[in-house]
Symmetry: C2
Subunit: 253 residues, 2 copies
DNA sequence: CGCCTATTTGATCTGATTCAAACAATGTGG
DNA sequence: CCACATTGTTTGAATCAGATCAAATAGGCG
């Protein structure tokens, strides 16, 4: 249904420089000093538009740069030997999904676009220089890595121990909460330019089953989701259906 | 079968001071300078023996200290609202499973012992002082967090997309590889003081099913596992059965 | 118009769960 | 030292959530 038609721009916030996306994200995590903001604004990066479904970095690669998502949605994933895909995370503007390549030589999974994206690439050397100059940013990035891990655990809990309906409801809650935290929502609406197959691969289910469960959530008046836009119709009901408790997102600081 | 009988000591390596467990772990990750080693040896910590199945930190807690595993096995877990448990990780000597509490105020999951353990508690303030004094250690710990995340992703892939037999074989491979990396194996043997229920909770399966699949792996001559000791009888066969590729453990440096 | 991708529906199958009970090993108190 | 409780493992039978297979529908787009 035309999800690929979704423009690079993901609902409001047209950033001038790609650096602004990173600064905004970090400011949602902690207060930045003027000096830190300056240093981040001066961080050299090369912006590039990429269409949907393109690999950015592949399992086994040894990158010398990191990738900042400026606009659009990206995801991290890996295939089973039998060819089944598991998506580990969806990433939104301001995220640096492969920050790990700064400390882990070889990629243990792949990174790709899900919607058309504007990306910005940052050389490791520049990132290292920045962190040497502004050591407190190390703590911020480290903290971000920790939150990343917390989200992985929550997904694991869902995949391992919750039924399909709960999992999907929880997923919608999480995506909405995360997008809200970076100012990408509009009332009860949030951009969600994904296919049902991608959600299935993220939740460890089949596309067919996602479809059926999705109809259930719609029928129960909890959500609407069309034209790449998720609308949460009944926040409390959805949270209850998804056993959603946002503590694990650590948005408090 | 008497796993609770397992002594606090987990196969060789009786550490003198608890600090040595931490130093040994970090040295398996990177070379330490003499100064770093000294600083780590001087890190104040309070050792304590704890019996099996005890909670150390609970979801919702706001710890002011971290916990180092000196001997024994610990695990991190969380319950579903319906009371189902998912275990996210097993931790072995040298690990600091709740290092995240240094940067995330409230625990989003619990930490407990699985076997009798010797633990050592380190006040956040002391850890912070150490990292201020030896900034390179921040990178080591951050790297450790990243590897933690990588392991979470691999578990997610298994739970979401691999069948029970593959999952269990993979699990045995991983535990063996990790224990080997910290010098806790003896030929093809490694301590594994877990119950089938704990493995089930880690792999998102039922105890009954773990039992049946385990019998399969035994019948096929891939592993033996008795008296809390895992014996890998056919490393290549087990790795193949588990689709095991250790890249994600990032043991190379 | 015709192609491609995504969604939807129906029918069937199966890996894994659940329930229930037996069995085995260890530890405990009298 | 035995009776008994406790915890963990094993087995069998019934059931089910979700997968798989197959095909129809529906938009968007060159």
């Amino acid at each position: 249904m035309g999800r690929r038609t979704a423009p690079v721009q993901t609902m409001n916030h047209p950033f001038r420089a790609p650096n602004d996306a990173l600064i905004a994200k970090l400011e949602s995590v902690a207060d930045l000093t003027a000096r830190e903001r300056e240093a981040l604004a001066a961080l050299p990066m090369r912006a590039q538009d990429v269409r949907a479904d393109q690999d950015i970095v592949r399992e086994g690669d040894r990158p010398s740069q990191c990738c900042l998502v400026v606009e659009g949605f990206a995801c991290r994933f890996k295939f089973t030997e039998k060819g089944k895909r598991q998506i580990f995370a969806f990433h939104t503007p301001g995220d640096v999904p492969d920050l790990l390549s700064l400390h882990l030589r070889t990629m243990d999974h792949s990174l790709g676009t899900v919607s058309p994206c504007r990306l910005a690439f940052i050389q490791h050397e520049h990132l290292r220089a920045l962190l040497r100059e502004q050591p407190r940013l190390v703590d911020l990035f480290w903290r971000d890595t920790l939150i990343d891990g917390s989200i992985f655990r929550e997904w694991m809990l869902g995949i391992g121990r919750r039924d399909a309906r709960t999992r999907l409801a929880h997923f919608f809650c999480e995506m909405f909460a995360r997008l809200e935290a970076v100012g990408r929502t509009d009332g009860g609406r949030a951009p969600l330019p994904l296919t049902q197959t991608e959600i299935a691969d993220a939740l460890g289910l089949s596309t067919v089953h996602i479809n059926r469960v999705l109809q259930e959530l719609r029928r129960d008046g909890l959500v609407a989701w069309e034209d790449a836009v998720l609308t949460v119709l009944d926040p409390a009901g959805l949270a209850q259906a998804g056993e959603f408790d946002p503590v694990y997102l650590h948005q408090d600081r």
